[in-house]
């Protein structure tokens, strides 16, 4: 083939490239990621090795963050108990622990994923590989950490009054949705941070104050009939509440739940809440994966 023919062919190829297909892009992302499994594994190992290598705490790192959240929650709970004259239940501590682990994973993963493109700029500007592996491996490394935390939690469950129940089948589903939501946020924020360096400060702020807009230290019911519904707009809320109900209360998540409060009946759970979170997590994941992939070609010019 002559060069002239190739050039005309090349022109044709570009036109094909111009017609963008969402399905094609998703297939491409999946293919690239599956061919980068070893790289992802190595990057996770790198993150974990660095974290544990020179750490005096060792494995305590994994429980430090959720442990701190639990302790803070206990202080607040204790104050509430003192004020209202109610009694402190062991289940409150269990609920706190479950939610803290999940929340710790969510914010830890986002905190690590957001700067992942810029902190690996020496790689991004020099070597070609699917950029998704950077935020993804940061999230998975945090997942390993939180997994260790969850194992330790498993040992203390008998003391917290948690038993086995059929509702535990919801656990993997809710965790999978939480993972999807985390990856969605991680991809979106790391992409944005590649172009705008102050995104990571915004994300840091959002992580710090997010705990007030997510019912971890308090129950949604304490916000009243309207507040309990509004707080569910935060897509993390139904996931954390779902975890608590399934693990601590042994509640089937398909069954709605209402409690009697001072100002009337409060709907604390509806399967629609979970459906809402699932929709945000899955659609968000697809959208942010596509955005991230679209921008992939120019990261090397911006980081």
């Amino acid at each position: 083939m002559t060069l002239a023919e190739q050039i005309s062919q090349a022109g044709g190829a570009q036109q094909v490239d111009a017609s963008y297909s969402i399905w094609g892009a998703l297939v491409e992302i999946a293919k690239e990621l599956s061919s980068s499994r070893e790289l992802t594994r190595q990057l996770i190992l790198r993150d974990l090795r660095i974290r544990y290598k020179q750490a005096v705490f060792g494995l305590l790192w994994a429980v430090l963050m959720p442990g701190l959240i639990v302790l803070s929650g206990l202080v607040i709970r204790f104050a509430v108990v003192q004020m209202t004259g109610t009694t402190f239940e062991r289940k409150m501590a269990a609920a706190l622990a479950v939610k803290s682990l999940a929340w710790g994973f969510f914010i830890g993963a986002i905190g690590l994923a957001t700067p992942s493109l810029t902190s690996n700029s020496n790689l991004v500007t020099k070597v070609h590989f699917p950029r998704e592996v950077l935020p993804l491996s940061a999230i998975l490394a945090q997942g390993v950490d939180s997994g260790i935390g969850a194992l330790i939690f498993l040992f203390i469950t008998p003391f917290l009054g948690i038993g086995l129940s059929a509702a535990l089948v919801w656990l993997p589903i809710v965790l999978a949705l939480l993972f999807c939501l985390t990856v969605a946020a991680g991809l979106l924020f790391s992409c944005a941070n590649a172009f705008f360096r102050d995104v990571k400060y915004l994300v840091q702020m959002f992580i710090t104050f997010g705990i007030f807009y997510t019912p971890i230290f308090y129950e949604p019911a304490t916000l009243g009939p309207v507040g309990a519904k509004l707080i569910m707009l935060n897509p993390v809320t139904p996931l954390l509440e779902g975890l608590r109900l399934a693990v601590v209360e042994g509640h089937n998540l398909l069954v709605p739940l209402s409690v009697q409060a001072a100002k009337g009946m409060v709907v604390v759970w509806s399967p629609w809440y979970l459906a809402y979170s699932a929709a945000v997590a899955i659609l968000g994941l697809l959208a942010s994966a596509l955005i991230f992939h679209r921008a992939e070609a120019v990261y090397a010019e911006y980081v």
Binding site: A10, A13, L39, L123, T125, L202, A300
Partner: protein
């Protein structure tokens, strides 16, 4: 099975220089500014900058293409486009086969990890499957010569050890297509030779190779073809010697004769001797030139000079016709020069000029000539000492 190769067709790459909004804050601020004042469209074109313009070339198996050019000519951008780190603004890049890139070879190293851990990490970054890394691990460590320190964090390595380990990983990739960026000067002399030998083996094995290097002699030794880039455009494409000659051409480098008065010019410089030029051997060069009508003005004291530079640009020797008592007059002239090439093997650039001894300025610089000097038998090393030896038996 596809034949491995590199095709680069009409590739251009545009960058924007100048102000870059890299924070939301500045975007919001400039958006507010834009709302108040009218947008100015004129600035856009000023800030565009073409790092590559319509670059087209092909590398087939058995070919090694050297890319040379001054700093900022677009060499690194071209390599980044070839390795898909950057996407070209226009044009098509087609790299068939598993691509191995010897670029910034220790880019993926983390200082806190040990050599062993970094080999696994860097190998996977370069696309090696885990089993392959495990299989080649001993070879890599052996090649880098860091076996004693393989379980030491690389932050304790010397920069040479670091670079050697990085090179060793990249060199064991077994790629179908090899892309090399300025890694020929890694480590000490012994390692450089070892590394160069490794790359030579890869080139000889027949895989397509693209090399970027400032070491022109290395390019001439390694490559079968060369491309000279200047401000993003290909200005010469051919044999390494042709491109190197063009690159080192004094006229291209802005080293021109004094403007206005050029009563004499060098037209041609040719090699007259036949066969290979070797270290310590003879080289005959003919310099042809013309003296303009009216002859040489009286305020000019002309001499024909011959300047020889090594491929790295260093001046090797400059000789003039002063000692030979040559007088050039109106019309064409030819000067034959007999040289004894008492220089180590390598690539040399010969230029000739008519020199005004009164003002110490060149009147007319000629085109340059590139000579490849091969291994000789008279001497080895960098200088021929003209040693004379005599034998006298000692009576005890």
């Amino acid at each position: 099975m596809t034949v491995p190769g590199v095709r680069c067709i009409g590739v251009s790459k545009k960058f924007r220089r100048g102000e870059h909004h890299d924070s939301l804050r500045s975007v919001i601020a400039s958006f507010a500014r834009a709302l108040r004042s009218r947008p100015r469209a004129v600035e856009k074109n000023d800030r565009e900058f073409w790092a590559l313009r319509d670059v087209t070339f092909e590398v087939e198996p058995g070919q090694a293409v050297g890319i040379i050019g001054a700093n900022g000519a677009g060499k690194s951008t071209l390599l980044k486009v070839l390795t898909r780190v950057l996407r070209p603004t226009t044009g098509i890049i087609d790299v068939r086969g598993r691509q191995g890139a010897l670029i910034e070879i220790a880019a993926g190293f983390h200082p806190d990890l040990t050599g062993r851990e970094n080999v696994a990490l860097q190998g996977s970054i370069m696309g090696m499957p885990a089993v392959e890394i495990a299989r080649k691990f001993d070879q890599i460590v052996e090649f880098a010569g860091v076996s004693e320190f393989i379980d030491t964090p690389v932050k304790r390595y010397s920069s040479g050890m670091n670079a050697r380990l990085g090179f060793a990983i990249a060199a064991h990739l077994d790629p179908d297509v090899l892309i090399i960026d300025e890694v020929l000067s890694v480590g000490d002399l012994a390692f450089q030779q070892k590394a160069f030998g490794r790359i030579q083996d890869l080139v000889k094995s027949g895989i397509p190779v693209v090399v970027v290097s400032h070491q022109l002699d290395r390019v001439s030794q390694l490559c079968t073809h060369a491309i000279l880039l200047d401000h993003g455009s290909v200005i010469c494409q051919g044999t390494p010697a042709e491109c190197i000659a063009e690159y080192l051409n004094p006229r291209r480098q802005g080293f021109t004769a004094v403007a206005g008065e050029s009563p004499a010019a060098i037209d041609r410089v040719t090699v007259e001797s036949e066969g290979e030029v070797v270290s310590g051997g003879p080289l005959r060069v003919r310099i042809e030139g013309t003296v303009g009508p009216g002859g040489v003005p009286s305020h000019v004291d002309p001499a024909v000079v011959l300047v020889m530079n090594a491929a790295n640009g260093a001046l090797v020797s400059a000789i003039g016709s002063s000692g030979s008592n040559l007088t050039i007059a109106e019309g064409a002239f030819a000067v034959d020069v007999e040289l004894q090439m008492n220089v180590p093997r390598g690539l040399y650039v010969i230029q000739a000029a008519v020199w005004n001894r009164r003002t110490e300025q060149a009147l007319g610089a000629g085109p340059s000539l590139v000579v490849q000097v091969g291994e000789g038998i008279l001497f080895a090393g960098s200088v021929q000492l003209n040693g004379r030896m005599s034998l006298s038996p000692l009576v005890t």
